[in-house]
């Protein structure tokens, strides 16, 4: 469903973030991308939904060449790809409901959305997804008053409102404590298994990778250096990916 071929990304300041990355994502898998900070993980995710423009190479999503699209077509592709972020990126001062409804903006007219008019059916769906991420009753709470883990779950609900084929997760638990991390990962797993959404997730902790990933790729300096199952990453691979002096830290 998603095919990335020889993807290169050079930022205007000269940083060569991705060097010929190719990968193939199968429907329904939970693909985890690992690598050091600055290895190009975030850039890769942002190229897939065209938040960043790829320098060369191709990204084929459901038969459409993402790198060649413009304007309305890009927005259409983005609307079918959900995304959650390390810092949640919710709209401050707005309620959980408004934040979740903002996932349907691509389907709502500009003028109507500015006036805050959303279809009843969408509101019902929003309530359903708020329930699915375990925040029933918090619909009218201000999003920035919630805890980190709750905010990330609101972000998941917002992404689900898009009815996404793929969910991109950019280090979704990197600013959460260990217990909350597991809870958020559990929700991602639920989304993956029960709703059938393909998940592509950047992660730091190998213990989480082993528990949740169905497949793993590793990036180092913008190049793909590993592709395989989560259990095949042994001590040697770990040191290749993270450097000689790295020591594995686990979270339970």
């Amino acid at each position: 469903m998603l095919e990335v071929n020889q993807l290169n990304k050079v930022y205007p300041n000269g940083t060569h973030a991705l060097k010929g990355v190719s990968l193939n994502v199968q429907p329904g898998e939970f693909l985890v991308i690992i690598g050091l900070s600055g290895s190009g993980k975030s850039t890769l995710l942002r190229c897939i939904n065209a938040l960043h423009e790829a320098t060369s190479g191709s990204i084929n999503f459901e038969g459409q060449e993402v790198t060649e699209l413009r304007g309305k077509q890009i927005r259409n592709v983005r609307s079918r790809i959900g995304m959650i972020f390390q810092h949640f990126n919710l709209i401050p001062r707005k309620t959980v409901m408004t934040n979740v409804l903002s996932g349907t903006l691509s389907k709502t007219g500009v003028f109507k959305s500015i006036l805050g008019i959303f279809p009843e059916a969408e509101k019902e769906r929003a309530k359903k997804y708020i329930g699915i991420v375990g925040l029933k009753g918090k619909e009218n709470a201000r999003a920035d008053n919630l805890s980190g883990g709750q905010q990330q779950r609101v972000a998941i609900a917002r992404a689900l409102m898009q009815n996404p084929k793929v969910l991109l997760a950019d280090e979704p638990v990197a600013s959460l404590d260990p217990a909350t991390s597991h809870s958020v990962m559990q929700y991602l797993k639920k989304v993956n298994e029960e709703l059938g959404v393909t998940v592509i997730c950047n992660l730091h902790f190998l213990s989480l990778v082993r528990e949740y990933a169905s497949r793993v790729i590793a990036l180092k300096d913008g190049k793909m250096i590993y592709e395989g199952g989560p259990s095949e990453i042994d001590e040697q691979w770990f040191q290749t990916i993270y450097g000689e002096e790295a020591v594995e830290v686990t979270i339970n």
């Binding site: 983005r78 790809i81 959900g82 995304m83 972020f85 949640f88 709209i91 001062r93 709502t108 500015i114």
Partner: protein, 360 residues
């Protein structure tokens, strides 16, 4: 690839850069020295010698004098450039720090302090600071006359003063209110982070910034004079002057607020496939509403004060009334107006700071 070549090239590039920066600093230092020496000579001759020592009433001036000073300054800066008597080099950080000496023993600092002292002395002379006039008997009796009048305000004009003050407050309010939508729109065009994605947008950004700076650099007092000729003396011309200045100031404050927002929500809303206008409405606006309100209320507060001053040049309201009574030397009436103005300014100041504190 040529990564190896690049790694070797980098230190060389760095060295080259340091050399260029050093040369630039030296040239800057030399210009500063020349200017400072020329300034010192000119002030010593024209003010200290001709005005203060010789007491010439109308000293001769020709453009050759600054030219000579500049020439002499050039010579002096060349002569002292390689000693430690160069203020320009000190300002550009070209002197090595000497641990064994305190800074006050450094010649360049002493020279700099001398130039500062010279400027102060010349300034006192040019401002005609005179204790004899400040404390002369005729002066003091004048002061007594005006202060007794001010403290005995004429309450008969209280009602008129109050109506004029109300005119001023409303005028400031309308100027602020009308400025909000204009500044709101312009604020987006003047925000660098929203406008740097394409060259067309960036040109629009530069143009907006240019006009805002131009409008802001002309004082509302000057705008009031212009508009009082255009639409006639009265509150309308004052309102227009305040409106124009408020648009420029608010748009700048608004745009700075936009430049400081968190990029995360913008990215998230963009990623849902939302239209750019929706991205601004849902990703940008919620982050800026409260600061905007705070700025706007503060602006109204400023506008009420400014409206008083603008009234002095024909902008209507209590300022115009003040000007009329001052022209007639009716100091008791002026005293009444001063009390009304002071009260309004105090109330506005208090209210606006309370409201802004509550908004945080």
């Amino acid at each position: 690839m040529n990564t190896q070549n690049m790694e070797q090239a980098l230190p060389q590039q760095e060295q080259q850069k340091i050399k260029v920066e050093h040369a630039q600093a030296t040239v800057r230092a030399f210009f500063i020295d020349t200017f400072l020496w020329a300034y010192t000579l000119l002030v010593l001759h024209k003010i200290v010698y001709e005005k203060m020592i010789m007491n010439f009433r109308y000293p001769e001036f020709s453009w050759m004098q600054p030219a000579y000073a500049l020439g002499a300054g050039l010579a002096l800066s060349v002569a002292f450039f390689f000693t430690r008597l160069s203020v320009g080099k000190a300002m550009n950080g070209l002197y090595s720090v000497r641990e064994d000496r305190t800074l006050f023993k450094e010649p360049f600092l002493q020279l700099g302090l001398f130039q500062l002292l010279l400027t102060f002395v010349a300034g006192i002379h040019i401002s005609q600071v005179s204790m004899t006039e400040f404390l002369s008997s005729s002066g003091l009796s004048g002061a007594r006359r005006i202060f007794t009048a001010l403290f005995n305000p004429n309450w008969n004009i209280f009602e008129d003063a109050l109506f004029a003050a109300i005119e001023t407050i409303y005028m400031a309010f309308i100027a602020t209110t009308l400025a909000i939508p204009a500044a709101f729109l312009l604020g987006f065009f003047a925000a660098r982070n929203l406008m740097s994605s394409s060259s067309v947008l960036f040109a629009l950004y530069s143009l907006t910034r240019f006009f805002l700076n131009l409008t802001r650099s002309i004082e509302p007092l000057v705008w009031a004079i212009i508009f009082s000729v255009w639409v006639g003396i009265g509150p309308f011309s004052g309102m227009l002057a305040l409106f124009l200045h408020s648009v420029a100031s608010l748009a700048k404050l608004y745009s700075e607020q936009i430049e400081n927002i968190d990029n995360g929500p913008i990215e998230a809303i963009t990623a849902t496939g939302a239209h750019p206008i929706q991205v601004i409405w849902f990703g940008v606006v919620p982050q800026i509403v409260l600061p905007y309100l705070s700025f706007t209320i503060y602006r109204w507060d400023i506008n009420v004060r400014m409206a008083t001053v603008i009234g002095l040049v024909g902008g209507g309201g209590i300022g115009t009334m003040l000007m009329q009574y001052q022209g007639l030397a009716k100091w008791n009436e002026v005293g009444m107006l001063v009390i009304v103005i002071a009260t309004i300014v105090w109330i506005m100041d208090y209210a606006s700071s309370k409201i802004r504190a509550a908004l945080k």
